[in-house]
Symmetry: C2
Subunit: 294 residues, 2 copies
């Protein structure tokens, strides 16, 4: 029996419904949640990401605008724009779309967003609260979205062994901390594996929950998967594809056709983690508006 599909679009729709009803409650009180995107330059993928997030925001009733800055924007100019939004009480969330042009240091830019408007969860204070288990912070949307996939997909986690392949800042490391925390929807034994892990498959085959977050196209195959495991694919990799008008196509870290016959449950890609990331971004934005108006 092939693995059950963990339908990220369907789970995201559930979250969007809840988010929309929270927006409605805020609107009744005269508060419209407002999210501002900052996009620097004209990277086609950034344009596509922002436009998808904007349209979802609109669907749930969040007011959003995008500030488009030229590729040549200097760091002081960008920081000044962020300061203006930080100071504007009508703005509840600020998202700076990555990738930034070369020369703009990510760490300085993300750390400039005031933590209470950092709905992406990228400010050091929010990462610190994550590590400390302090619920007043905003969680980064992709790891938080993965926890929601497990919860809504009714995947048991307590006492299970989760193996995360990839130790990136945005997914691998924070997800390891979140899955290990003492909580009904976590409480896993967690192994963080990566490019320096020898005999990777002997580690990944121990996983009840296996997360591919290393950024290598179709790297995880059935050899890496224990029968019945839950497999989550975070990867978004460009591979050259002359048949595509863009010249590339996007593939995950998991070789779906190899893994699906072995796994117990699996996220499709696209349609798995990606929609959840957006759902958590919008839910964070509404929480920022709730916090600011409470």
């Amino acid at each position: 029996m092939p693995a059950r599909i963990l339908d990220g679009e369907a789970f995201a729709s559930q979250i969007h419904l809840e988010t929309a009803s929270r927006v409605a409650a805020l609107t009744k009180r005269g508060v419209t949640p407002r999210l501002v995107f900052i996009r620097v330059g004209e990277d086609p993928a950034s344009r596509a990401y922002v436009s998808r997030k904007e349209s979802r925001a609109k669907e749930v009733g969040i007011s959003s605008t995008t500030l488009v800055l030229p590729e040549t924007t200097s760091l002081p100019d960008l920081l000044r724009q962020i300061d203006t939004l930080n100071a504007d009480p009508k703005v509840h969330g600020i998202l700076i779309q990555s990738p930034l042009p070369q020369g703009l240091p990510n760490d300085q830019v993300y750390a400039r967003v005031t933590p209470s408007k950092d709905v992406d969860g990228f400010h050091p204070v929010n990462f610190g609260k994550l590590l400390l288990g302090d619920p007043t912070g905003f969680l980064p949307c992709t790891p938080a979205g993965i926890l929601e996939i497990l919860r809504l997909g009714k995947i048991p986690t307590r006492g299970k062994h989760a193996v995360i392949v990839g130790r990136g800042q945005i997914v691998g490391r924070p997800l390891a901390v979140l899955l290990a925390q003492k909580s009904p929807h976590a409480d896993c034994t967690v192994t963080l594996a990566h490019s320096s892990t020898p005999n990777l498959s002997s580690i990944t085959r121990q996983a009840d929950i296996l997360v591919g977050a290393l950024g290598r196209p179709l790297f995880l195959t059935k050899e890496h998967v224990q029968a019945g495991a839950t497999v989550i694919d975070v990867g978004v990799n460009r591979v050259p594809d002359p048949a595509s008008p863009r010249g590339y196509r996007l593939v995950g870290d998991v070789d779906f056709s190899s893994v699906q016959p072995v796994a117990g449950a699996i996220t499709p890609n696209p349609g798995g983690v990606g929609p959840m990331t957006i759902a958590l971004l919008l839910s964070n934005t509404v929480r920022a508006a709730e916090d600011a108006s409470s």
Copy 2:
């Protein structure tokens, strides 16, 4: 052949020597590194900890004072004292000794210390920088001290499997992130196990490096240890002992006499992790003074 002893006192002395020479360099430039301890109440263990740290500080040439506040100190009073020290340019490091009396919320108190004087590494910003791999933060002293034990003890780490038992805020979680980071003295595959981990010994017996940080007296025995593994004991547990004048004695998480015949290297306890924690505190303090005066 019984395990080699990883002598924390000897490693700490090496670090103290380096710290003392950095203090000498600062003193030549007219800067005396200054560390202020805040102790609230008269908990005997707190008194002993602060007094040991003060005497080590003196040995390396750091000027230190202890502000002793009554058990009944209110939160606003404590925060005001911290603010005064934050604003004093002659103070480079501030350490609030735990445990605080009941009723004083740890998170609010530790988050009040300005991050650049937070030599304990307990501010959310410093925890966030740890998670992000940003070297401008201060690392919490115990996990940083464990990395130094491995480095000075010449324990290979790259590609090795480290298993940490215990997911606490101060040791287990941050140490997991640090041991997994891409760095010559880390780069481990890391498993974070804890009280909800079933079949714990089947996990711990995979460890090349096994860290006991769960707070259960003498919990880890030879059944948990792979032959030749490096074993680090972080535990500081009070067990009743009528023969002791204090009525208790301190024991670790590792049953040393059971584990030493099996392990390849092991920290004694006391005399392992404890002295390294103090060494890293003083080294952080000197870095705070260097940063402030550069």
